[in-house]
Amino acid sequence: MPLVALLLTTSTLLGTAHAGSLAQFDFSGPVTQEHFKQVLGKLRCLVCQNETLLDSQAELAQDLRREVYDLMASGKSDQEVIDFLTARYGDFVLYDPPVKPSTYLLWYGPFALFVVGVVALLVTVRRRRQGPEPQLSPEEQARARRLLDEADEGDNRT
């Protein structure tokens, strides 16, 4: 029973925490809640690395949410907000990393692998198709003829 109670309290706490984290922001001004959530959803929290800035409850995430809100409220564009964070924390904060030499492998690697696979497949198929006709030894030829003859006889009988 105490365990159930504990689970219930923690789940309630977790449930309300998310709502509470945005409650401190005022969305009656130039920043709409939807836009704010959309921008935060693209940014990674550096402490809980698999969470967005929108979801993370880390203290740094709260500070960065405040920072992003202030930038947006002062009329900065989404790109300017993103530039602000990448200038400090690098491309790591982006869930959608930019295409540049160090990320070519990430972006184009799967396509390169796909091409390699297709080429390998084509080469294998072609090699199989062009393979030499199977040659029968004299004994095999004799046996084949015998079988064919037997079949012919059978046909004539019916």
Partner: protein, 176 residues
């Protein structure tokens, strides 16, 4: 022959990538600030709030800025190493006390000793954001021109100090 060598080769490449992946620490996010001027800041001193530490104090000498807090467990582990570094007298060590309680921080330095030339008190953590701090402890090495040359993420150890930090400091001192 190729039919056996090819899968073996693919396996070797894959194993290589996985071996590298295992050795990488995902907590170590490379800082885009390396090679860039130290971010502008001006913060009250921990010991004397009426005085301030700012970016210009970092210029003209090779310095080390250590970001710490009393609530940070690994900062305590690191403290001895900082004390030894300060005692070596090879480099000026500054502290940046991140999102902390002034009384607790002063108490900490009284008990454990104070290795810092001066400690900037960043109560709101706003300056630390400009420095790209995302956890404590973090330690920056700054050259004479005020350019950030290296960043250590996580607690400094005697090995890191002797094998990386001090050689870098000596090299930067030799630069004119």
């Amino acid at each position: 022959m190729l039919r056996y060598l090819l899968p073996l080769g693919i396996f070797a490449v894959l194993a290589g990538f996985l071996a590298i992946g295992l050795r990488l620490d995902p907590k170590e996010v490379p800082s885009p600030l390396i090679g860039k001027p130290a971010p502008e800041f001006s913060l009250p001193l921990l010991h004397a709030p009426e005085r301030r530490l700012s970016t210009k104090d970092l210029k003209g000498k090779v310095s080390v800025l250590n970001v710490w807090a009393t609530w940070c467990v690994s900062c305590r582990a690191e403290h001895e190493v900082l004390q030894a570094l300060a005692q070596s007298g090879e480099v000026t060590l500054y502290g940046l006390d991140y999102k902390d309680d002034r009384e607790k921080a002063l108490q900490w330095l009284r008990v454990l000793g104070n290795p810092y030339e001066a400690v900037a008190f960043d109560e709101a953590g706003r300056a630390a954001i400009d420095w790209g701090v995302y956890g404590t402890p973090e330690t920056f090495v700054i050259d004479r021109q005020g350019i950030i040359r290296h960043k250590f993420i996580g607690p400094l150890t005697a090995e890191k100090v002797n094998e990386v930090l001090l050689p870098l400091v000596r090299k930067l001192k030799a630069e004119s």
